[in-house]
């Protein structure tokens, strides 16, 4: 095992331990105390898990998009494998983000689903991933599948910003950090977060991104082997 894989394991364990165990107090005096965010209290801890997972979903989609473009330029099937594997991981992270967010919403907003702009956005991302894999399974020829799914990913990629950036701004939302929220009255990420929370948050962000890279590497190696054995089979027969 390479050093960075052991590193990400220790890193994420430390982040989880800190995120779950540091006390949330009204007036923090020590470096290990998080301040209370009115209206969120203990539920604020979700930010260390939910937001990095949602972030990884977007990263995975961008990686899939990038490799789709790369496939169209080089016609190299390995780029297509990277694209579809990244989309698969993105789907996994999108489901995780949706489920964690939904459970949190049950306790903060009173119901599992409210069609808040952010919830609508992740729903659309799930739909795009679903449509992407429906398209892939409907085409047999490998080159054609690679080409068409890359084109679809790009078309979805150019229309998705309409959600991520425009919709939350024309609708007021319930989500912390959106325009309807009193606390974070500003654009999405300008949270008034305490420095120590911010540090743990970014540590979690980095940890999840590296975890994604690790999972990506495993899947890429698997599909490289599959490609290799498929070619070997066809040469024998």
């Amino acid at each position: 095992m390479e050093w960075w894989k052991i590193g990400v394991g220790i890193w994420l364990t430390a982040v989880f331990a800190v995120a779950l165990s540091f006390p949330i107090v009204p007036e923090p005096k020590h470096w290990y105390e998080f301040p209370v965010i009115p209206g969120l209290e203990e539920r604020a801890r979700i930010i260390f898990f939910h937001v990095p997972v949602a972030w990884t979903t977007v990263v995975a989609f961008l990686v899939a998009l990038w490799n789709g473009v790369k496939y169209l330029r080089t016609m190299d099937l390995e780029a297509d494998a990277a694209s579809s594997n990244s989309a698969g991981l993105g789907l996994l992270f999108a489901v995780l983000a949706t489920v964690t967010g939904s459970i949190w919403a049950r306790f903060s907003w009173g119901s599992f689903w409210n069609w808040d702009p952010r919830e609508t956005s992740i729903f659309v991302l799930l739909l795009i991933y679903g449509a992407y894999f429906a398209l892939r399974s409907a085409i047999e020829s490998e080159e054609r599948r690679a080409r068409l799914s890359a084109v679809y990913a790009i078309i979805a990629g150019v229309t998705a910003p309409f959600f991520v950036f425009i919709m939350p701004r024309i609708m007021t939302g319930l989500h912390p950090g959106s325009r309807g929220d009193v606390q974070g009255s500003g654009p999405v990420v300008q949270f008034h977060m305490a420095p120590n929370m911010l540090l743990v948050f970014f540590a979690a962000l980095i940890g999840f991104t590296v975890l994604f890279a690790w999972m990506m590497e495993i899947r890429l190696r698997t599909s490289r082997l599959e490609l290799h054995f498929m070619n070997a089979d066809s040469e024998q027969s």
Binding site: L72, V124, L127, I128, G130, A131, A134, L135, A138, I139, E140, R144, R147, L148, A150, V151, Y152, I154, I155, A156, V158, T159, F162, F163, I166, M167, I170
Partner: protein
């Protein structure tokens, strides 16, 4: 494509309009898509009517249902442009006769014509048949319809080109189109809601801006990517 040094705009325009008139004429001869579309619209509207007899439905809901009818009618007819070529085996001939971008824009204009026809039909019937759906700001309504139809046709054309190459064409079309069209649908529904109340044209400026940029972005991306879909 446009980057070609020997690009001849007159030649390009001739083949694009050629593709458009070919489809237009064959449609007038068979009326395959038109008949199906008209029947689809009538059926859908009568289901809506039957489900709302003696009910007072809020005008905001009616504005949404209008676009539900338009979306599914479009999904039933717009894929024909490319699926037809695959089924009749005329793809190779088109490959020989016209450049990919000329074919794309020819097909785009066919779909635009079809969507404008379809939406006019739906809206006229909807206004006549559904009580309680009254428009107060016609400016917003007409502009929303025009811009919404343009965006609908541009997204539907590239998705039609994609699914024409796949195995399960019919079911795949709405599945692939919906996530792409959702930003458009949400915006036109907003615009239509605004049009049912007293609002001036500038109130819907945000909607118009989104719709225009949507059409431009999708058409530009489709133009750049169409070659990869079209060439086997």
């Amino acid at each position: 494509m446009a980057g070609d040094s020997k690009f001849n705009f007159a030649e390009w325009l001739r083949s694009a309009t050629g593709v458009f008139w070919k489809d237009f004429r064959s449609e007038l001869r068979t009326r395959y898509a038109l008949n199906a579309l008209v029947m689809f619209v009538v059926t859908t509207l009568s289901i809506v009517l039957f489900s709302m007899t003696e009910e007072n439905v809020a005008v905001d809901v009616l504005a949404g249902i209008l676009w539900v009818v338009i979306f599914f009618s479009a999904m039933s007819g717009l894929s024909r442009t490319f699926v037809n070529e695959e089924e009749r085996g005329t793809v190779m001939t088109l490959h020989l006769l016209a450049s990919p971008s000329a074919i794309f824009f020819g097909k785009l204009f066919v779909n635009l014509a079809l969507v404008f026809f379809l939406n006019t039909l739906v809206v006229v019937l909807y206004l006549l048949l559904i009580n309680g759906f009254a428009i107060q700001s016609y400016g917003i309504f007409v502009l929303t319809l025009l811009l919404g139809s343009t965006g609908l046709a541009s997204a539907a054309t590239i998705i039609a080109a994609i699914i024409a190459k796949a195995n399960t064409k019919g079911t795949l079309y709405p599945v692939l189109s919906f996530p792409i069209l959702l930003p458009l649908l949400l915006t036109v529904m907003n615009g239509t809601k605004l049009a049912t109340g007293p609002a001036s044209l500038s109130d819907a400026a945000v909607e118009f801006r989104i719709l225009i940029s949507y059409s431009v972005v999708v058409t530009a991306a489709s133009y750049l990517l169409f070659e990869y879909v079209w060439k086997d």
